[in-house]
């Protein structure tokens, strides 16, 4: 069997990856494997990217040769202002160019993220400690508000007043910071 990368040497490494039940085989020669760096267990760049570029192709609505002019313009318009990457380029290389790309391509990202991340498109994990401080405060205010609601329903007015003051002071702090 010939190496699928260089098509010249005999493939000596037969590499199987099974991701979410989908089996992909790679047959490559030693030289190409070393170039890819994937002969070392632990490195993980090669296959995910292959998988991804394949995946993005199927997500790519403009990959067919027949294109209506309006679609073409739409594609040309989707360009990140910060780094200059177009959506087309993003689909080809399978990489964002900068943080701003996420906002630029936002409307197209949900189906891509869902396919890669087992149906998920929104973050549920860590929030940065310092930068996310306001976010933490917003979440705390939300929580306090729901506590306040139950307390009022249960006529626990003394405690509710304390919670109300706490919400007020948290909000004041936020506004002061935003005024800086």
């Amino acid at each position: 069997m010939l190496c699928q990368e260089c098509q010249s040497k005999q493939a000596s490494l037969h590499f199987t990856k099974i991701i979410n039940g989908e089996k992909t085989e790679f047959h490559i020669c030693e030289t190409c494997a070393k170039d890819k760096g994937d002969y070392i267990p632990g490195s993980n760049s090669f296959s995910i990217h292959q998988l991804l570029s394949g995946l993005l192709d199927t997500e790519q609505p403009f990959s067919t040769t027949k294109e209506s002019p309006s679609l073409k313009t739409q594609r040309e318009e989707l360009t990140c202002k910060n780094c200059g990457l177009t959506y087309q380029q993003f689909a080809e290389i399978g990489r964002f160019g900068c943080a701003e790309c996420y906002r630029t391509f936002d409307e197209k990202l949900d189906p891509i993220f869902r396919r890669i991340h087992g149906g998920n498109a929104e973050h549920a994990g860590k929030i940065p400690k310092r930068k996310g401080k306001d976010l933490h405060v917003h979440r705390e205010i939300e929580n306090l508000r729901s506590t306040l609601k139950t307390q009022i329903e249960n006529e626990e007015f003394e405690q509710a007043a304390k919670i109300r003051d706490k919400i007020r002071s948290l909000k004041n702090n936020l506004q002061e910071k935003e005024g800086d």
Binding site: K17, F96, H117, N120, K131
Partner: protein
């Protein structure tokens, strides 16, 4: 250079400690991908923009004392020799990609090398914590600590809806890849591994091995890691992996037990033949070395070989890679010379073991 001092340099201090379940789990790793808000990602950024990141790193982190990890040392790719970079790759401290990033690639290393932060690889920062044995929770905690420490001084790109923003869509959200390297010779020998594999994959985990001719992975080593980074909490991602690894450990132990009961002589024969080859061969290819080392390691872990320590597989696995062999030889080696050096190194290492 004597083999002892060479090994002292070659083996990361973290690896010398035996972690929990180290008869089956070689190492645990957690990696967090982080980026800055305004600078484009390395694949598209201009050289001066990446240089700006390096200056920030020099100013804010390099040489700084971290409470847990000590002083962080900055190594820049353009200041390292080819072979020095290769050694870093073989120690899993940097990726092959970073070693080729000669313009602005760098790595920050902790004193014990359990923590490394790649700078300007695919993402601006990749915080990696590597511990011996089965220590996923600890790896996550340490990587998180380092993340918090770095975030005190720089703004990481974070979006309320998508989480931490990364260059590759496969890393977005938590930016977390957790993985465990396992030695599963008995599951392979009893042909049970292939039956377990589909179940692992259905859980959204990825199994990697290096497959030579036939179906056996080189050295019977497998890396199991999470695929999904978005939509789950970090702790849950790690817990999902942890529970699968725990089950695999039990399966491997049961398979070892049944091998011992059903075919002890066959097993001993295989293990001692491999030991003999490692102890006396004059030339050995990397693939064969891995296979024999796996056998001997199994023999040690099952108590059949008593006078050799168990971490020999971890050590020799790394020491017999081309970069280390050349560093030991002090010169570039042709592949036949490497086979000869490899055999010599293994013989010496085993002798050292018996002399202890």
């Amino acid at each position: 250079m004597s083999i002892e001092s060479f090994m002292n340099d070659a083996i990361s201090p973290w690896m010398k400690n035996e972690g929990p379940e180290s008869d089956i789990v070689i190492s645990s790793r957690v990696r967090l991908a982080r980026n800055l808000q305004h600078i484009p990602y390395p694949i598209i950024a201009k050289e001066n923009q990446l240089g700006e990141i390096i200056s920030q790193v020099k100013e804010k982190y390099a040489g700084q004392n971290h409470i847990k990890f000590g002083v962080l040392e900055l190594l820049q790719m353009n200041e390292l020799k080819e072979n020095e970079k290769r050694v870093l790759v073989e120690k899993h401290l940097i990726s092959p990609n970073l070693s080729r990033e000669t313009k602005a690639g760098a790595v920050l290393l902790s004193e014990d090398e359990s923590l490394s932060i790649m700078v300007n690889e695919e993402d601006h920062f990749r915080i990696q914590c590597l511990l011996s044995g089965f220590q996923l929770d600890e790896s996550l905690r340490y990587a998180n600590d380092m993340d918090d420490w770095m975030e005190e001084k720089l703004d990481f790109a974070f979006d309320e809806k998508r989480g931490y923003l990364t260059s590759c869509p496969t890393n977005v959200g938590t930016g977390l890849r957790s993985s465990v390297m396992m030695h599963l010779p008995a599951l392979v020998l009893t042909k049970k591994f292939n039956r377990i594999l589909p179940a692992i994959n259905q859980l959204g985990l990825v199994v990697r091995g290096i497959y030579g001719e036939g179906s056996e992975a080189q050295g019977n080593l497998f890396q199991i890691s999470n695929q999904t980074t978005l939509g789950k909490k970090e702790q849950d991602i790690v817990e999902d992996l942890r529970s699968v690894v725990s089950q695999l450990i039990q399966h491997e132990r049961a398979a070892r037990e049944s091998l011992l009961q059903q075919s002890q002589i066959l097993l001993e024969d295989r293990i001692y033949r491999s030991y003999g080859i490692l102890a006396y061969s004059r030339r050995i290819e990397s693939k064969e070395a891995m296979k024999r080392l796996s056998d001997v390691r199994l023999g040690i872990d099952m108590g059949l070989i008593k006078d050799v320590k168990g971490n020999i597989l971890n050590e020799l696995m790394i020491l017999t890679q081309p970069g280390f062999l050349q560093q030991y030889a002090g010169e570039a080696l042709l592949s036949e010379d490497r086979d000869q050096r490899r055999a010599a190194l293994i013989r010496e290492r085993l002798k050292l073991e018996l002399a202890d």
